[in-house]
């Protein structure tokens, strides 16, 4: 039973991986990666890593892939033109590179001195890979890596917002001509964050009436 399940999921995993690099439309590549990730989570389950499998499905197939889908739809998912890709020689060279890499890794697996590599692994103890066991390790032995990882996530979130933010404020004339109700309601001498970075031109912080005249003028 485990063998059948292993080969089915391994074929799905490899099929998804090949689909990622073979499909021309980036949107389909993302969907192939979702297939790959979900079948990889099943492989994790076969290895008794229950918490990692659940995290894989939730974090990767759930959150990260949604981010990818949004960006692909935003950027437009430009298909690569058929004729303009890398030259044929380069394509053959990269396939040969991949084959050679696999050869090296296969030699490493076959020739390794690890005895247990040809076994089913260590005897299963109840609770192996459960969220409780992982959580206990994360909060005791691996507390520092855990905290560093959370800090890294914070830095990445701030960095992504900084990179992808809209520079130069609202530049289209249509947007410059519109006023929101907040422009007139807010106290004199205050500003928005967009103005703070020099993005958006603003009413002279005076009475609301002068602002409306500017808008009509």
């Amino acid at each position: 039973m485990a063998e059948v399940l292993f080969f089915l999921t391994a074929i799905a995993t490899l099929g998804g991986a090949v689909g990622v690099i073979a499909l021309r439309n980036p949107f389909y590549s993302v969907l192939a990666l979702v297939v790959h990730l979900i079948s990889l989570a099943m492989l994790f389950l076969l290895l008794r890593a229950e918490f990692v499998a659940a995290a894989q499905v939730i974090v990767y197939a759930g959150a990260v892939m949604v981010l990818y889908v949004f960006v692909v739809s935003y950027v437009g998912g430009s298909e690569e033109p058929i004729g303009v890709g890398p030259s044929r020689g380069f394509r053959v060279a990269s396939v040969a590179f991949g084959g050679a890499l696999f050869l090296v890794l296969a030699i490493a697996i076959l020739g390794s001195g690890l005895k247990a590599i040809d076994s089913q692994g260590a005897p299963y103890v109840s609770g192996f890979g459960s969220p409780g066991a992982i959580g206990k390790l994360l909060l005791t032995d691996f507390l520092l890596p855990f905290e560093v990882a959370s800090f890294l996530l914070l830095v990445a979130a701030v960095g992504a917002v900084t990179l992808a933010r809209r520079r130069g404020g609202l530049e289209t004339p249509g947007e410059l001509a519109t006023y929101s109700a907040l422009d007139f309601l807010r106290p004199a001498g205050t500003g928005t964050m967009a103005e703070g970075v020099g993005g958006r031109r603003r009413l002279p912080a005076a009475t609301p009436e002068s602002g409306t005249e500017d808008a009509r003028a």
């Binding site: 990767y60 950027v75 990269s94 696999f102 990445a156 979130a157």
Partner: protein, 99 residues
């Protein structure tokens, strides 16, 4: 199933990802191929964790997932910034750091 089978699948996924990084020109797909390679490493880590009956490999895999999520966030931010500046979305055209 023997652990060696899982390691073989992991090696195959890694090679597919490495080949994809070399052939594809769309940075979005290059990021996807990087994900493939990271996931192959994760599979090997978890296979070894099962082999030793030790949880440390699974913790490593979780940390790798965190780093991959960060890499994706920043990479996609760069791609959106490129799109805003009308830079061609093509890794062969992007040879300069200068904006």
């Amino acid at each position: 199933m023997n652990i060696a089978w899982f390691l073989t699948v992991s090696a195959l996924i890694f090679c597919v990802g490495a080949g994809g990084v070399m052939t594809r020109r769309n940075p979005l797909v290059v990021l996807l191929c990087l994900e493939l390679m990271l996931n192959a490493a994760n599979l090997a880590l978890i296979a070894f964790s099962r082999m030793h009956g030790n949880h440390d490999g699974q913790i490593f895999a979780i940390v790798v997932m965190v780093v991959a999520a960060c890499e994706v966030t920043v990479g996609l931010g760069v791609i959106v910034a490129m799109y805003r500046r009308r830079v061609p979305i093509d890794v062969d055209e992007l040879r300069e750091l200068q904006g």
